[in-house]
Symmetry: C2
Subunit: 314 residues, 2 copies
């Protein structure tokens, strides 16, 4: 497998990205070849320092960097030699099978949507996150911020994408799919949720189990939780803050430890034609390693083909 990694993205790049590669290669010595986009001189020195074998990592020189606060569209257009733009060129041309970055989130989104593009039939690609369940399991929440305003058919498509991701990546057999809502019965909710419910009910390829409420998000009542990106983003960031709060209050509990985003690495962009994974700006070694592992899994399971097949049937 050929996996691309932006070495210059994120607050602790490139050093933590290199350390992430080291962690990954320790556990997966010959599974993949990594294509590291970034400044060649800097990377060569770091790879030497961390004894990264050149057989496992190819440096693809990219002299420019898109800053975390740059305007995404403008930066991506003007900085064709940036580590993100170069990564998307590699992905579009087929030289790599997945691309990962903890850099400018907007630029990664724009790259995924316009350089890679949505799968045929997918109206709106989406981003998802893992939500730790209090019984030890994991749920998938989507959309978590890419689509702040949605139509019912968008939610219905998120349900399909999320269901396939839960099945193939999280290993959940016949995942339960639910609509996040403010009441349990059909007919409850805002106009969007009211209109999405019947679509989800008739969406036979998924195992729709109805509405869930806010109190069900952290418990094992469902596997895939669907909502528009406004609510989803609020839930995601509220959940992430629980890790910080628990740490600050010296609550040493395994459950709240699981709200540390480093455990999951990054957010996959679902519904685009190729695997794209976006990391948190404050990603460190463990997060980078986990993003590479996730990319590997998305390639190994041929998740993209499965998603494409789902939308071709429509």
């Amino acid at each position: 497998m050929n996996i691309g990694l932006d070495m210059m993205g994120g607050d602790f790049a490139p050093r933590e990205a290199v350390k992430g590669i080291q962690l990954y290669l320790n556990e997966n010595p010959s599974a993949s070849v990594l294509y590291a986009t970034g400044d060649e001189t800097q990377l060569q020195q770091l790879f030497q320092e961390f004894s990264i074998p050149s057989s496992s990592v190819k440096i693809i020189h990219a002299p420019q960097v898109i800053g975390m606060d740059e305007h995404p569209t403008k930066a991506l257009k003007e900085k064709q030699q940036s580590s993100i733009a170069v990564g998307f060129h590699l992905l579009a041309s087929g030289k790599i099978e997945a691309f990962i970055s903890a850099g400018n989130t907007g630029a990664m989104m724009i790259g995924a949507l316009y350089s890679i593009k949505a799968m045929d039939g997918v109206l709106r690609p989406t981003i998802a996150t893992i939500i730790p369940k209090e019984n030890g399991g994991s749920g998938l929440l989507l959309d978590v911020g890419l689509n702040a305003d949605c139509k019912p058919e968008h939610l219905n498509q998120f349900a399909i994408l999320g269901s396939l991701y839960a099945q193939h990546i999280l290993g959940i057999n016949n995942p339960r799919v639910s609509l996040i809502n403010i009441g349990e019965e059909e007919g409850k909710g805002n106009l969007l949720a009211q209109a999405a419910y019947p679509l989800l009910k008739e969406n036979t390829p998924i195992n729709f189990t109805g509405n869930i409420e806010g109190r069900d998000i952290l418990i094992d009542k469902t596997d895939v939780m669907v909502c528009e990106g406004f609510t989803g983003n609020i839930i995601l960031k509220l959940a992430e803050s629980l890790y910080e709060i628990a740490k600050q209050k010296n609550i040493n509990n395994e459950y709240f430890e699981r709200f540390n985003f480093e455990n999951y690495g990054g957010t996959p962009v679902l519904g685009v034609a190729k695997p794209v994974i976006i990391g948190h700006g404050i990603s460190q070694a463990k997060a980078f390693k986990n993003m590479i592992v996730l990319a590997q899994k998305m390639i190994e399971t041929d998740l993209m083909a499965k998603m494409k097949a789902s939308f071709k049937q429509d």
Copy 2:
């Protein structure tokens, strides 16, 4: 003060409501006269059992009960002798100055909106909840479910109502008011948040401090957090579940203890002409006591007059 209390509402009524009255009277022996609506015979026995002095509590006989699962509009119309309907008659006629119930939430809403009605100028009454902040303070979140779909001007009015509540009931001087959003800068968010931001910015009677994100909800970054009722309800129920989860995991931390809704009692309906407080169905003695304390505070501070004055200036 004359405060009305539905004795038949909630899963543990009337016994826990009676115990709540006892707790309240122990702490506030002669502040109020309570008007207890419900079955006279049953209540007389319980008041005797708990030694509730008849000088402090008047029983208003209401032979009917609206069940927790009954259709609100239908039940309220057909059961004119129910403890909820009788309470609203007392409130509308001025015999009581506030009305409290832990019974059928829908019936309480309908009663508040149609029997008491919105204040002049208020487009949509709203419901609010206290959110415990990790530094020990308290924030106010609204709307938490009454208005699942909102227009920008509704959010702008919630900001005024919430600001006055925070000032007079929570005792926060010049409360910071923020818009819940998925980004910090103006222009971020869904269409509703984008359109609400400029209204809030120009709303000079409030101290608008801009957007907050999901990660700011539990920290002391703001006092009043405004959103539509869909997102607000998800946040509220997610927050409530933290108490249960912490308890189940034997995390004995003061902070998570504060997510126990019993500490707050009930949810005030803001923007209606008279104080109406709706309790959780599973309210017990402490929650009933706290709802009576809240009603007393709403009357003492003349919150309704302050709200009415705010909307008259518009």
